[in-house]
């Protein structure tokens, strides 16, 4: 059992080893949905919720699979759980907020193939976290993802207003900005020991 203090786990997952900017997990929605701050923050919230639920499920499943001696099934069962959680969120949003449902579009079902969520389930298993540690880790990772997405969306809203050469416009520019953000986040290294 790993007995890392909870606040180190949270700071580590959200700032120092930010899932997007240090581990490159969840780049697709990061590039795709970061056009507007409002959409980005809601997307972040949806991802955070899926992360929490799938983290709890993954913890239970891993314990069960180890108990019955079949840990090689973990990858397959993790992905099945994530897919069903996403389906749940999708149905919930469609009912509760159709406008948001349309704004997220194709990226909502694509949360299933968001590597950040599967990555979270795998990392927490590798690190041998306990139940509460898993929860905090999921919260931290979700917060870090949302932070990166919202920062990027804010920058891109500004970039709309400036004149850049046509050649650079689009994904190339976003990637360069992401690189600079990543350098900035390196400044957090060492925080929290």
């Amino acid at each position: 059992m790993n007995n890392e203090p909870l606040w180190t786990i949270f700071i580590g997952a959200s700032l120092i080893n930010n899932f997007v900017l240090a581990y490159f997990l969840g780049i697709c929605p990061f590039l795709g949905v970061s056009g507007k701050v409002a959409t980005a923050s809601r997307m972040g919230a949806a991802v955070m919720f899926v992360m929490l639920v799938s983290s709890i499920c993954a913890f239970g499943i891993q314990k069960l699979l180890v108990a019955i001696g079949a840990p090689y099934l973990s990858l397959i069962s993790f992905i099945a759980v994530i897919a069903s959680t996403v389906q749940l969120v999708e149905m919930f949003l469609k009912k509760m907020s159709p406008a948001l449902f349309r704004a997220l579009g194709i990226f909502l079902p694509l949360i299933t193939t968001n590597c950040a969520i599967l990555g979270l389930a795998l990392f927490q298993t590798n690190k041998g976290y306990g139940f509460v540690q898993c929860l905090v880790y999921a919260l931290g990772a979700g917060a870090g993802f949302t932070l990166a997405l919202v920062l990027m969306a804010g920058l891109r809203e500004r970039l709309e207003l400036v004149r850049v050469p046509d050649l650079v416009r689009g994904t190339a520019l976003t990637l360069m900005v992401a690189g600079i953000l990543s350098v900035i986040f390196m400044g957090f290294a060492g925080l929290g020991g």
Partner: protein, 218 residues
């Protein structure tokens, strides 16, 4: 992306299924899919090649299985079925790499397991293998997989050359050369990928410009 990559159900022109993935519809540089492994494991050329080949294997195998089962999979649960097929092959690759080279397995870390959520593979399953026969699907998988490996190699060589002054572990730059450590750190991945996209945009624009000039001249 879907409109261009339907392929042809008749099965002629099968060399085209193979070649399009290498350049014209390159999954990384043109379609900008599968960015996570592209950026994460390309800090050295050897990692990039290993990751590319692992993805190639999963892509071809899952294309074979999915295209041969495409008539039996109900439409509503197709994505879930695809993911399960892919996850099975990724588990195989994960254990195989662990058996072949433990060092490589440590270097690639969780990113082997994360091949499951590589959008390139699911994208090909949905856009190609679920609509075409086995042979074109194999060719499509091979082409896309090699295109992916090629893109990873492009990034890996540049990052390793500038970041540690070597290619495939062999020192090529003079010892005087100050390593650009940032290139093998995460931010280097973003910068290199951005730069390659710029190069590709430039090439595309030049070709389009050339075609326009030719039209005007005629």
């Amino acid at each position: 992306m879907t409109s261009k990559v339907q392929g042809n159900p008749t099965g002629t022109l099968s060399t085209d299924e193979f070649i399009k993935g290498l350049w014209r519809e390159n999954p990384v540089f043109v379609q900008v899919l599968g960015m996570c492994p592209t950026l994460a494991v390309t800090n050295s050329a050897i990692n990039a090649v290993a990751m590319g080949l692992a993805t190639l294997f999963v892509l071809v195998m899952s294309n074979i299985v999915i295209s041969s089962m495409r008539k039996f999979i109900p439409k509503q649960v197709r994505i879930a079925t695809f993911i399960l097929v892919i996850a099975t092959f990724v588990t195989v690759v994960d254990y195989a790499i662990q058996a072949i080279s433990l060092d490589l397995h440590t270097a690639l870390g969780a990113f082997i397991a994360l091949i499951v959520v590589n959008c390139v593979i699911l994208g090909r399953a949905e856009a190609f293998a679920s609509k075409n026969g086995v042979v074109p699907s194999i060719l499509d998988g091979l082409g896309m997989g090699l295109g992916f490996t090629f893109a990873l190699l492009c990034l890996g060589t540049v990052r390793e050359l500038l970041g540690s002054g070597s290619i495939f572990g062999l020192h090529v730059l003079p010892a005087r050369f100050q390593d650009w450590v940032i290139m093998i750190l995460p931010s280097g991945g973003f910068f290199t990928m951005g730069a390659w996209l710029l190069v590709f945009n430039g090439l595309k624009r030049r070709r389009a410009g050339g075609a326009n000039a030719a039209k005007e001249a005629a």
